[in-house]
Amino acid sequence: MPTLWQLTLVFSVLSIFSFGGGNATVPQMYADSVTHYHWISAADFARFFALGKLAPGPTLTMGTLIGYAVAGLSGAAVATAALLIPAGAIVYALGRLWHRLRDWPWRERFARATGPVVLGLIWAGAAAVAQGAIQGPATIAIAVIATVVMLVTKVNQAILMLAAGVVGLVVFR
């Protein structure tokens, strides 16, 4: 039972601060679930992140898998609710208040100012995932090839992920 409260607390706080669509929360999610509470290993964190990229839906919902690993279906339900409800309540309030915020002169500037900060957090998130995902030359090669393919071609990321899965199946068995 205390674990469910911890899950609720950790993911509610992440939800409130999840600017930038959830990608910015990855370093904090790693710090909480791997480093601080030892709920999952770094390798599992990287796997869950990969599953989040494979499945439809936002990155933030990889927290559902962390909840599931910690406390089964009730953990998954609690983590999902904690991730979605606080942020949803804030968006709802902003949507209601928008006619008053519309003329706020700093609105656009605020939106643009969060960009570089979120991007710094995305870089830090890549470093967090790499801690569990990059082990040995084969994983380095896959990561480098994936980077290049994404930069120079327009291939769908889901297809790239499936291809990497096939490579993993052959190489890591």
Partner: protein, 180 residues
């Protein structure tokens, strides 16, 4: 804002479909295509306005956008149902995949996922490189990107401390938009 009274069932259908069939960055574009172009529920101006609220809000961007569109089109019930439709089914798909992957009976899946995890690092790095290129001629913004990343990776600065420390700095470095 007054709701336009689009039937809630129609909203549900749209966001259930989009929430389970679209990936990552393509979602907002897919929502626009459906809600603005195909169905004419919103004008482009209204869409962009709601999108700008979604972008400054916490939480996943496309469910946020769904919530705001639901609120605009069918009030509070529309908001709640659109948000749930855009986020819950995809979460269930993810959970099913995760449950299989965690099952020790399927070691092959774990091997496949090792490959996927390495590729996911590549995806994130490629995405981050492309986003960083946007700021290539803006040194102050690049310094904010680097400083935030370094503080989180090496000083383990928390998410909220990072946002509280760097958003005001970034705000001060951002030029105000010319009045339009």
């Amino acid at each position: 804002m007054t709701p336009k009274h689009v039937p809630v069932a129609a909203l549900l259908r749209v966001f259930l479909w989009l929430g389970t069939t679209t990936y990552g960055g393509g979602q907002s574009a897919a929502i626009r295509r459906e809600v603005v172009r195909s169905r004419g529920w919103l004008t482009d101006e209204e869409y962009l306005e709601l999108r700008s609220i979604a972008l400054i809000s916490p939480g996943p961007n496309s469910p946020n956008l769904a919530l705001l569109i639901g609120l605009r089109l069918s009030g509070t019930i529309g908001a709640i149902l659109s948000y749930a439709a855009a986020s819950v089914p995809s979460t269930i798909i993810l959970l099913l995949l995760g449950a299989l992957a965690l099952d020790p009976q399927f070691p092959a899946l774990r091997a496949a996922l090792r490959g996927c995890a390495a590729a996911a690092v590549g995806l994130t790095v490629a995405n981050a490189l492309e986003l960083t290129a946007i700021y290539r001629s803006r040194v102050p913004q690049l310094l904010v990107v680097a400083a935030a990343a370094v503080c989180v990776v090496f000083a383990h600065l928390s998410l909220w401390a990072t946002l509280l420390a760097f958003v005001p700095i970034s705000f001060a470095l951002t030029k105000p938009v010319a009045a339009t």
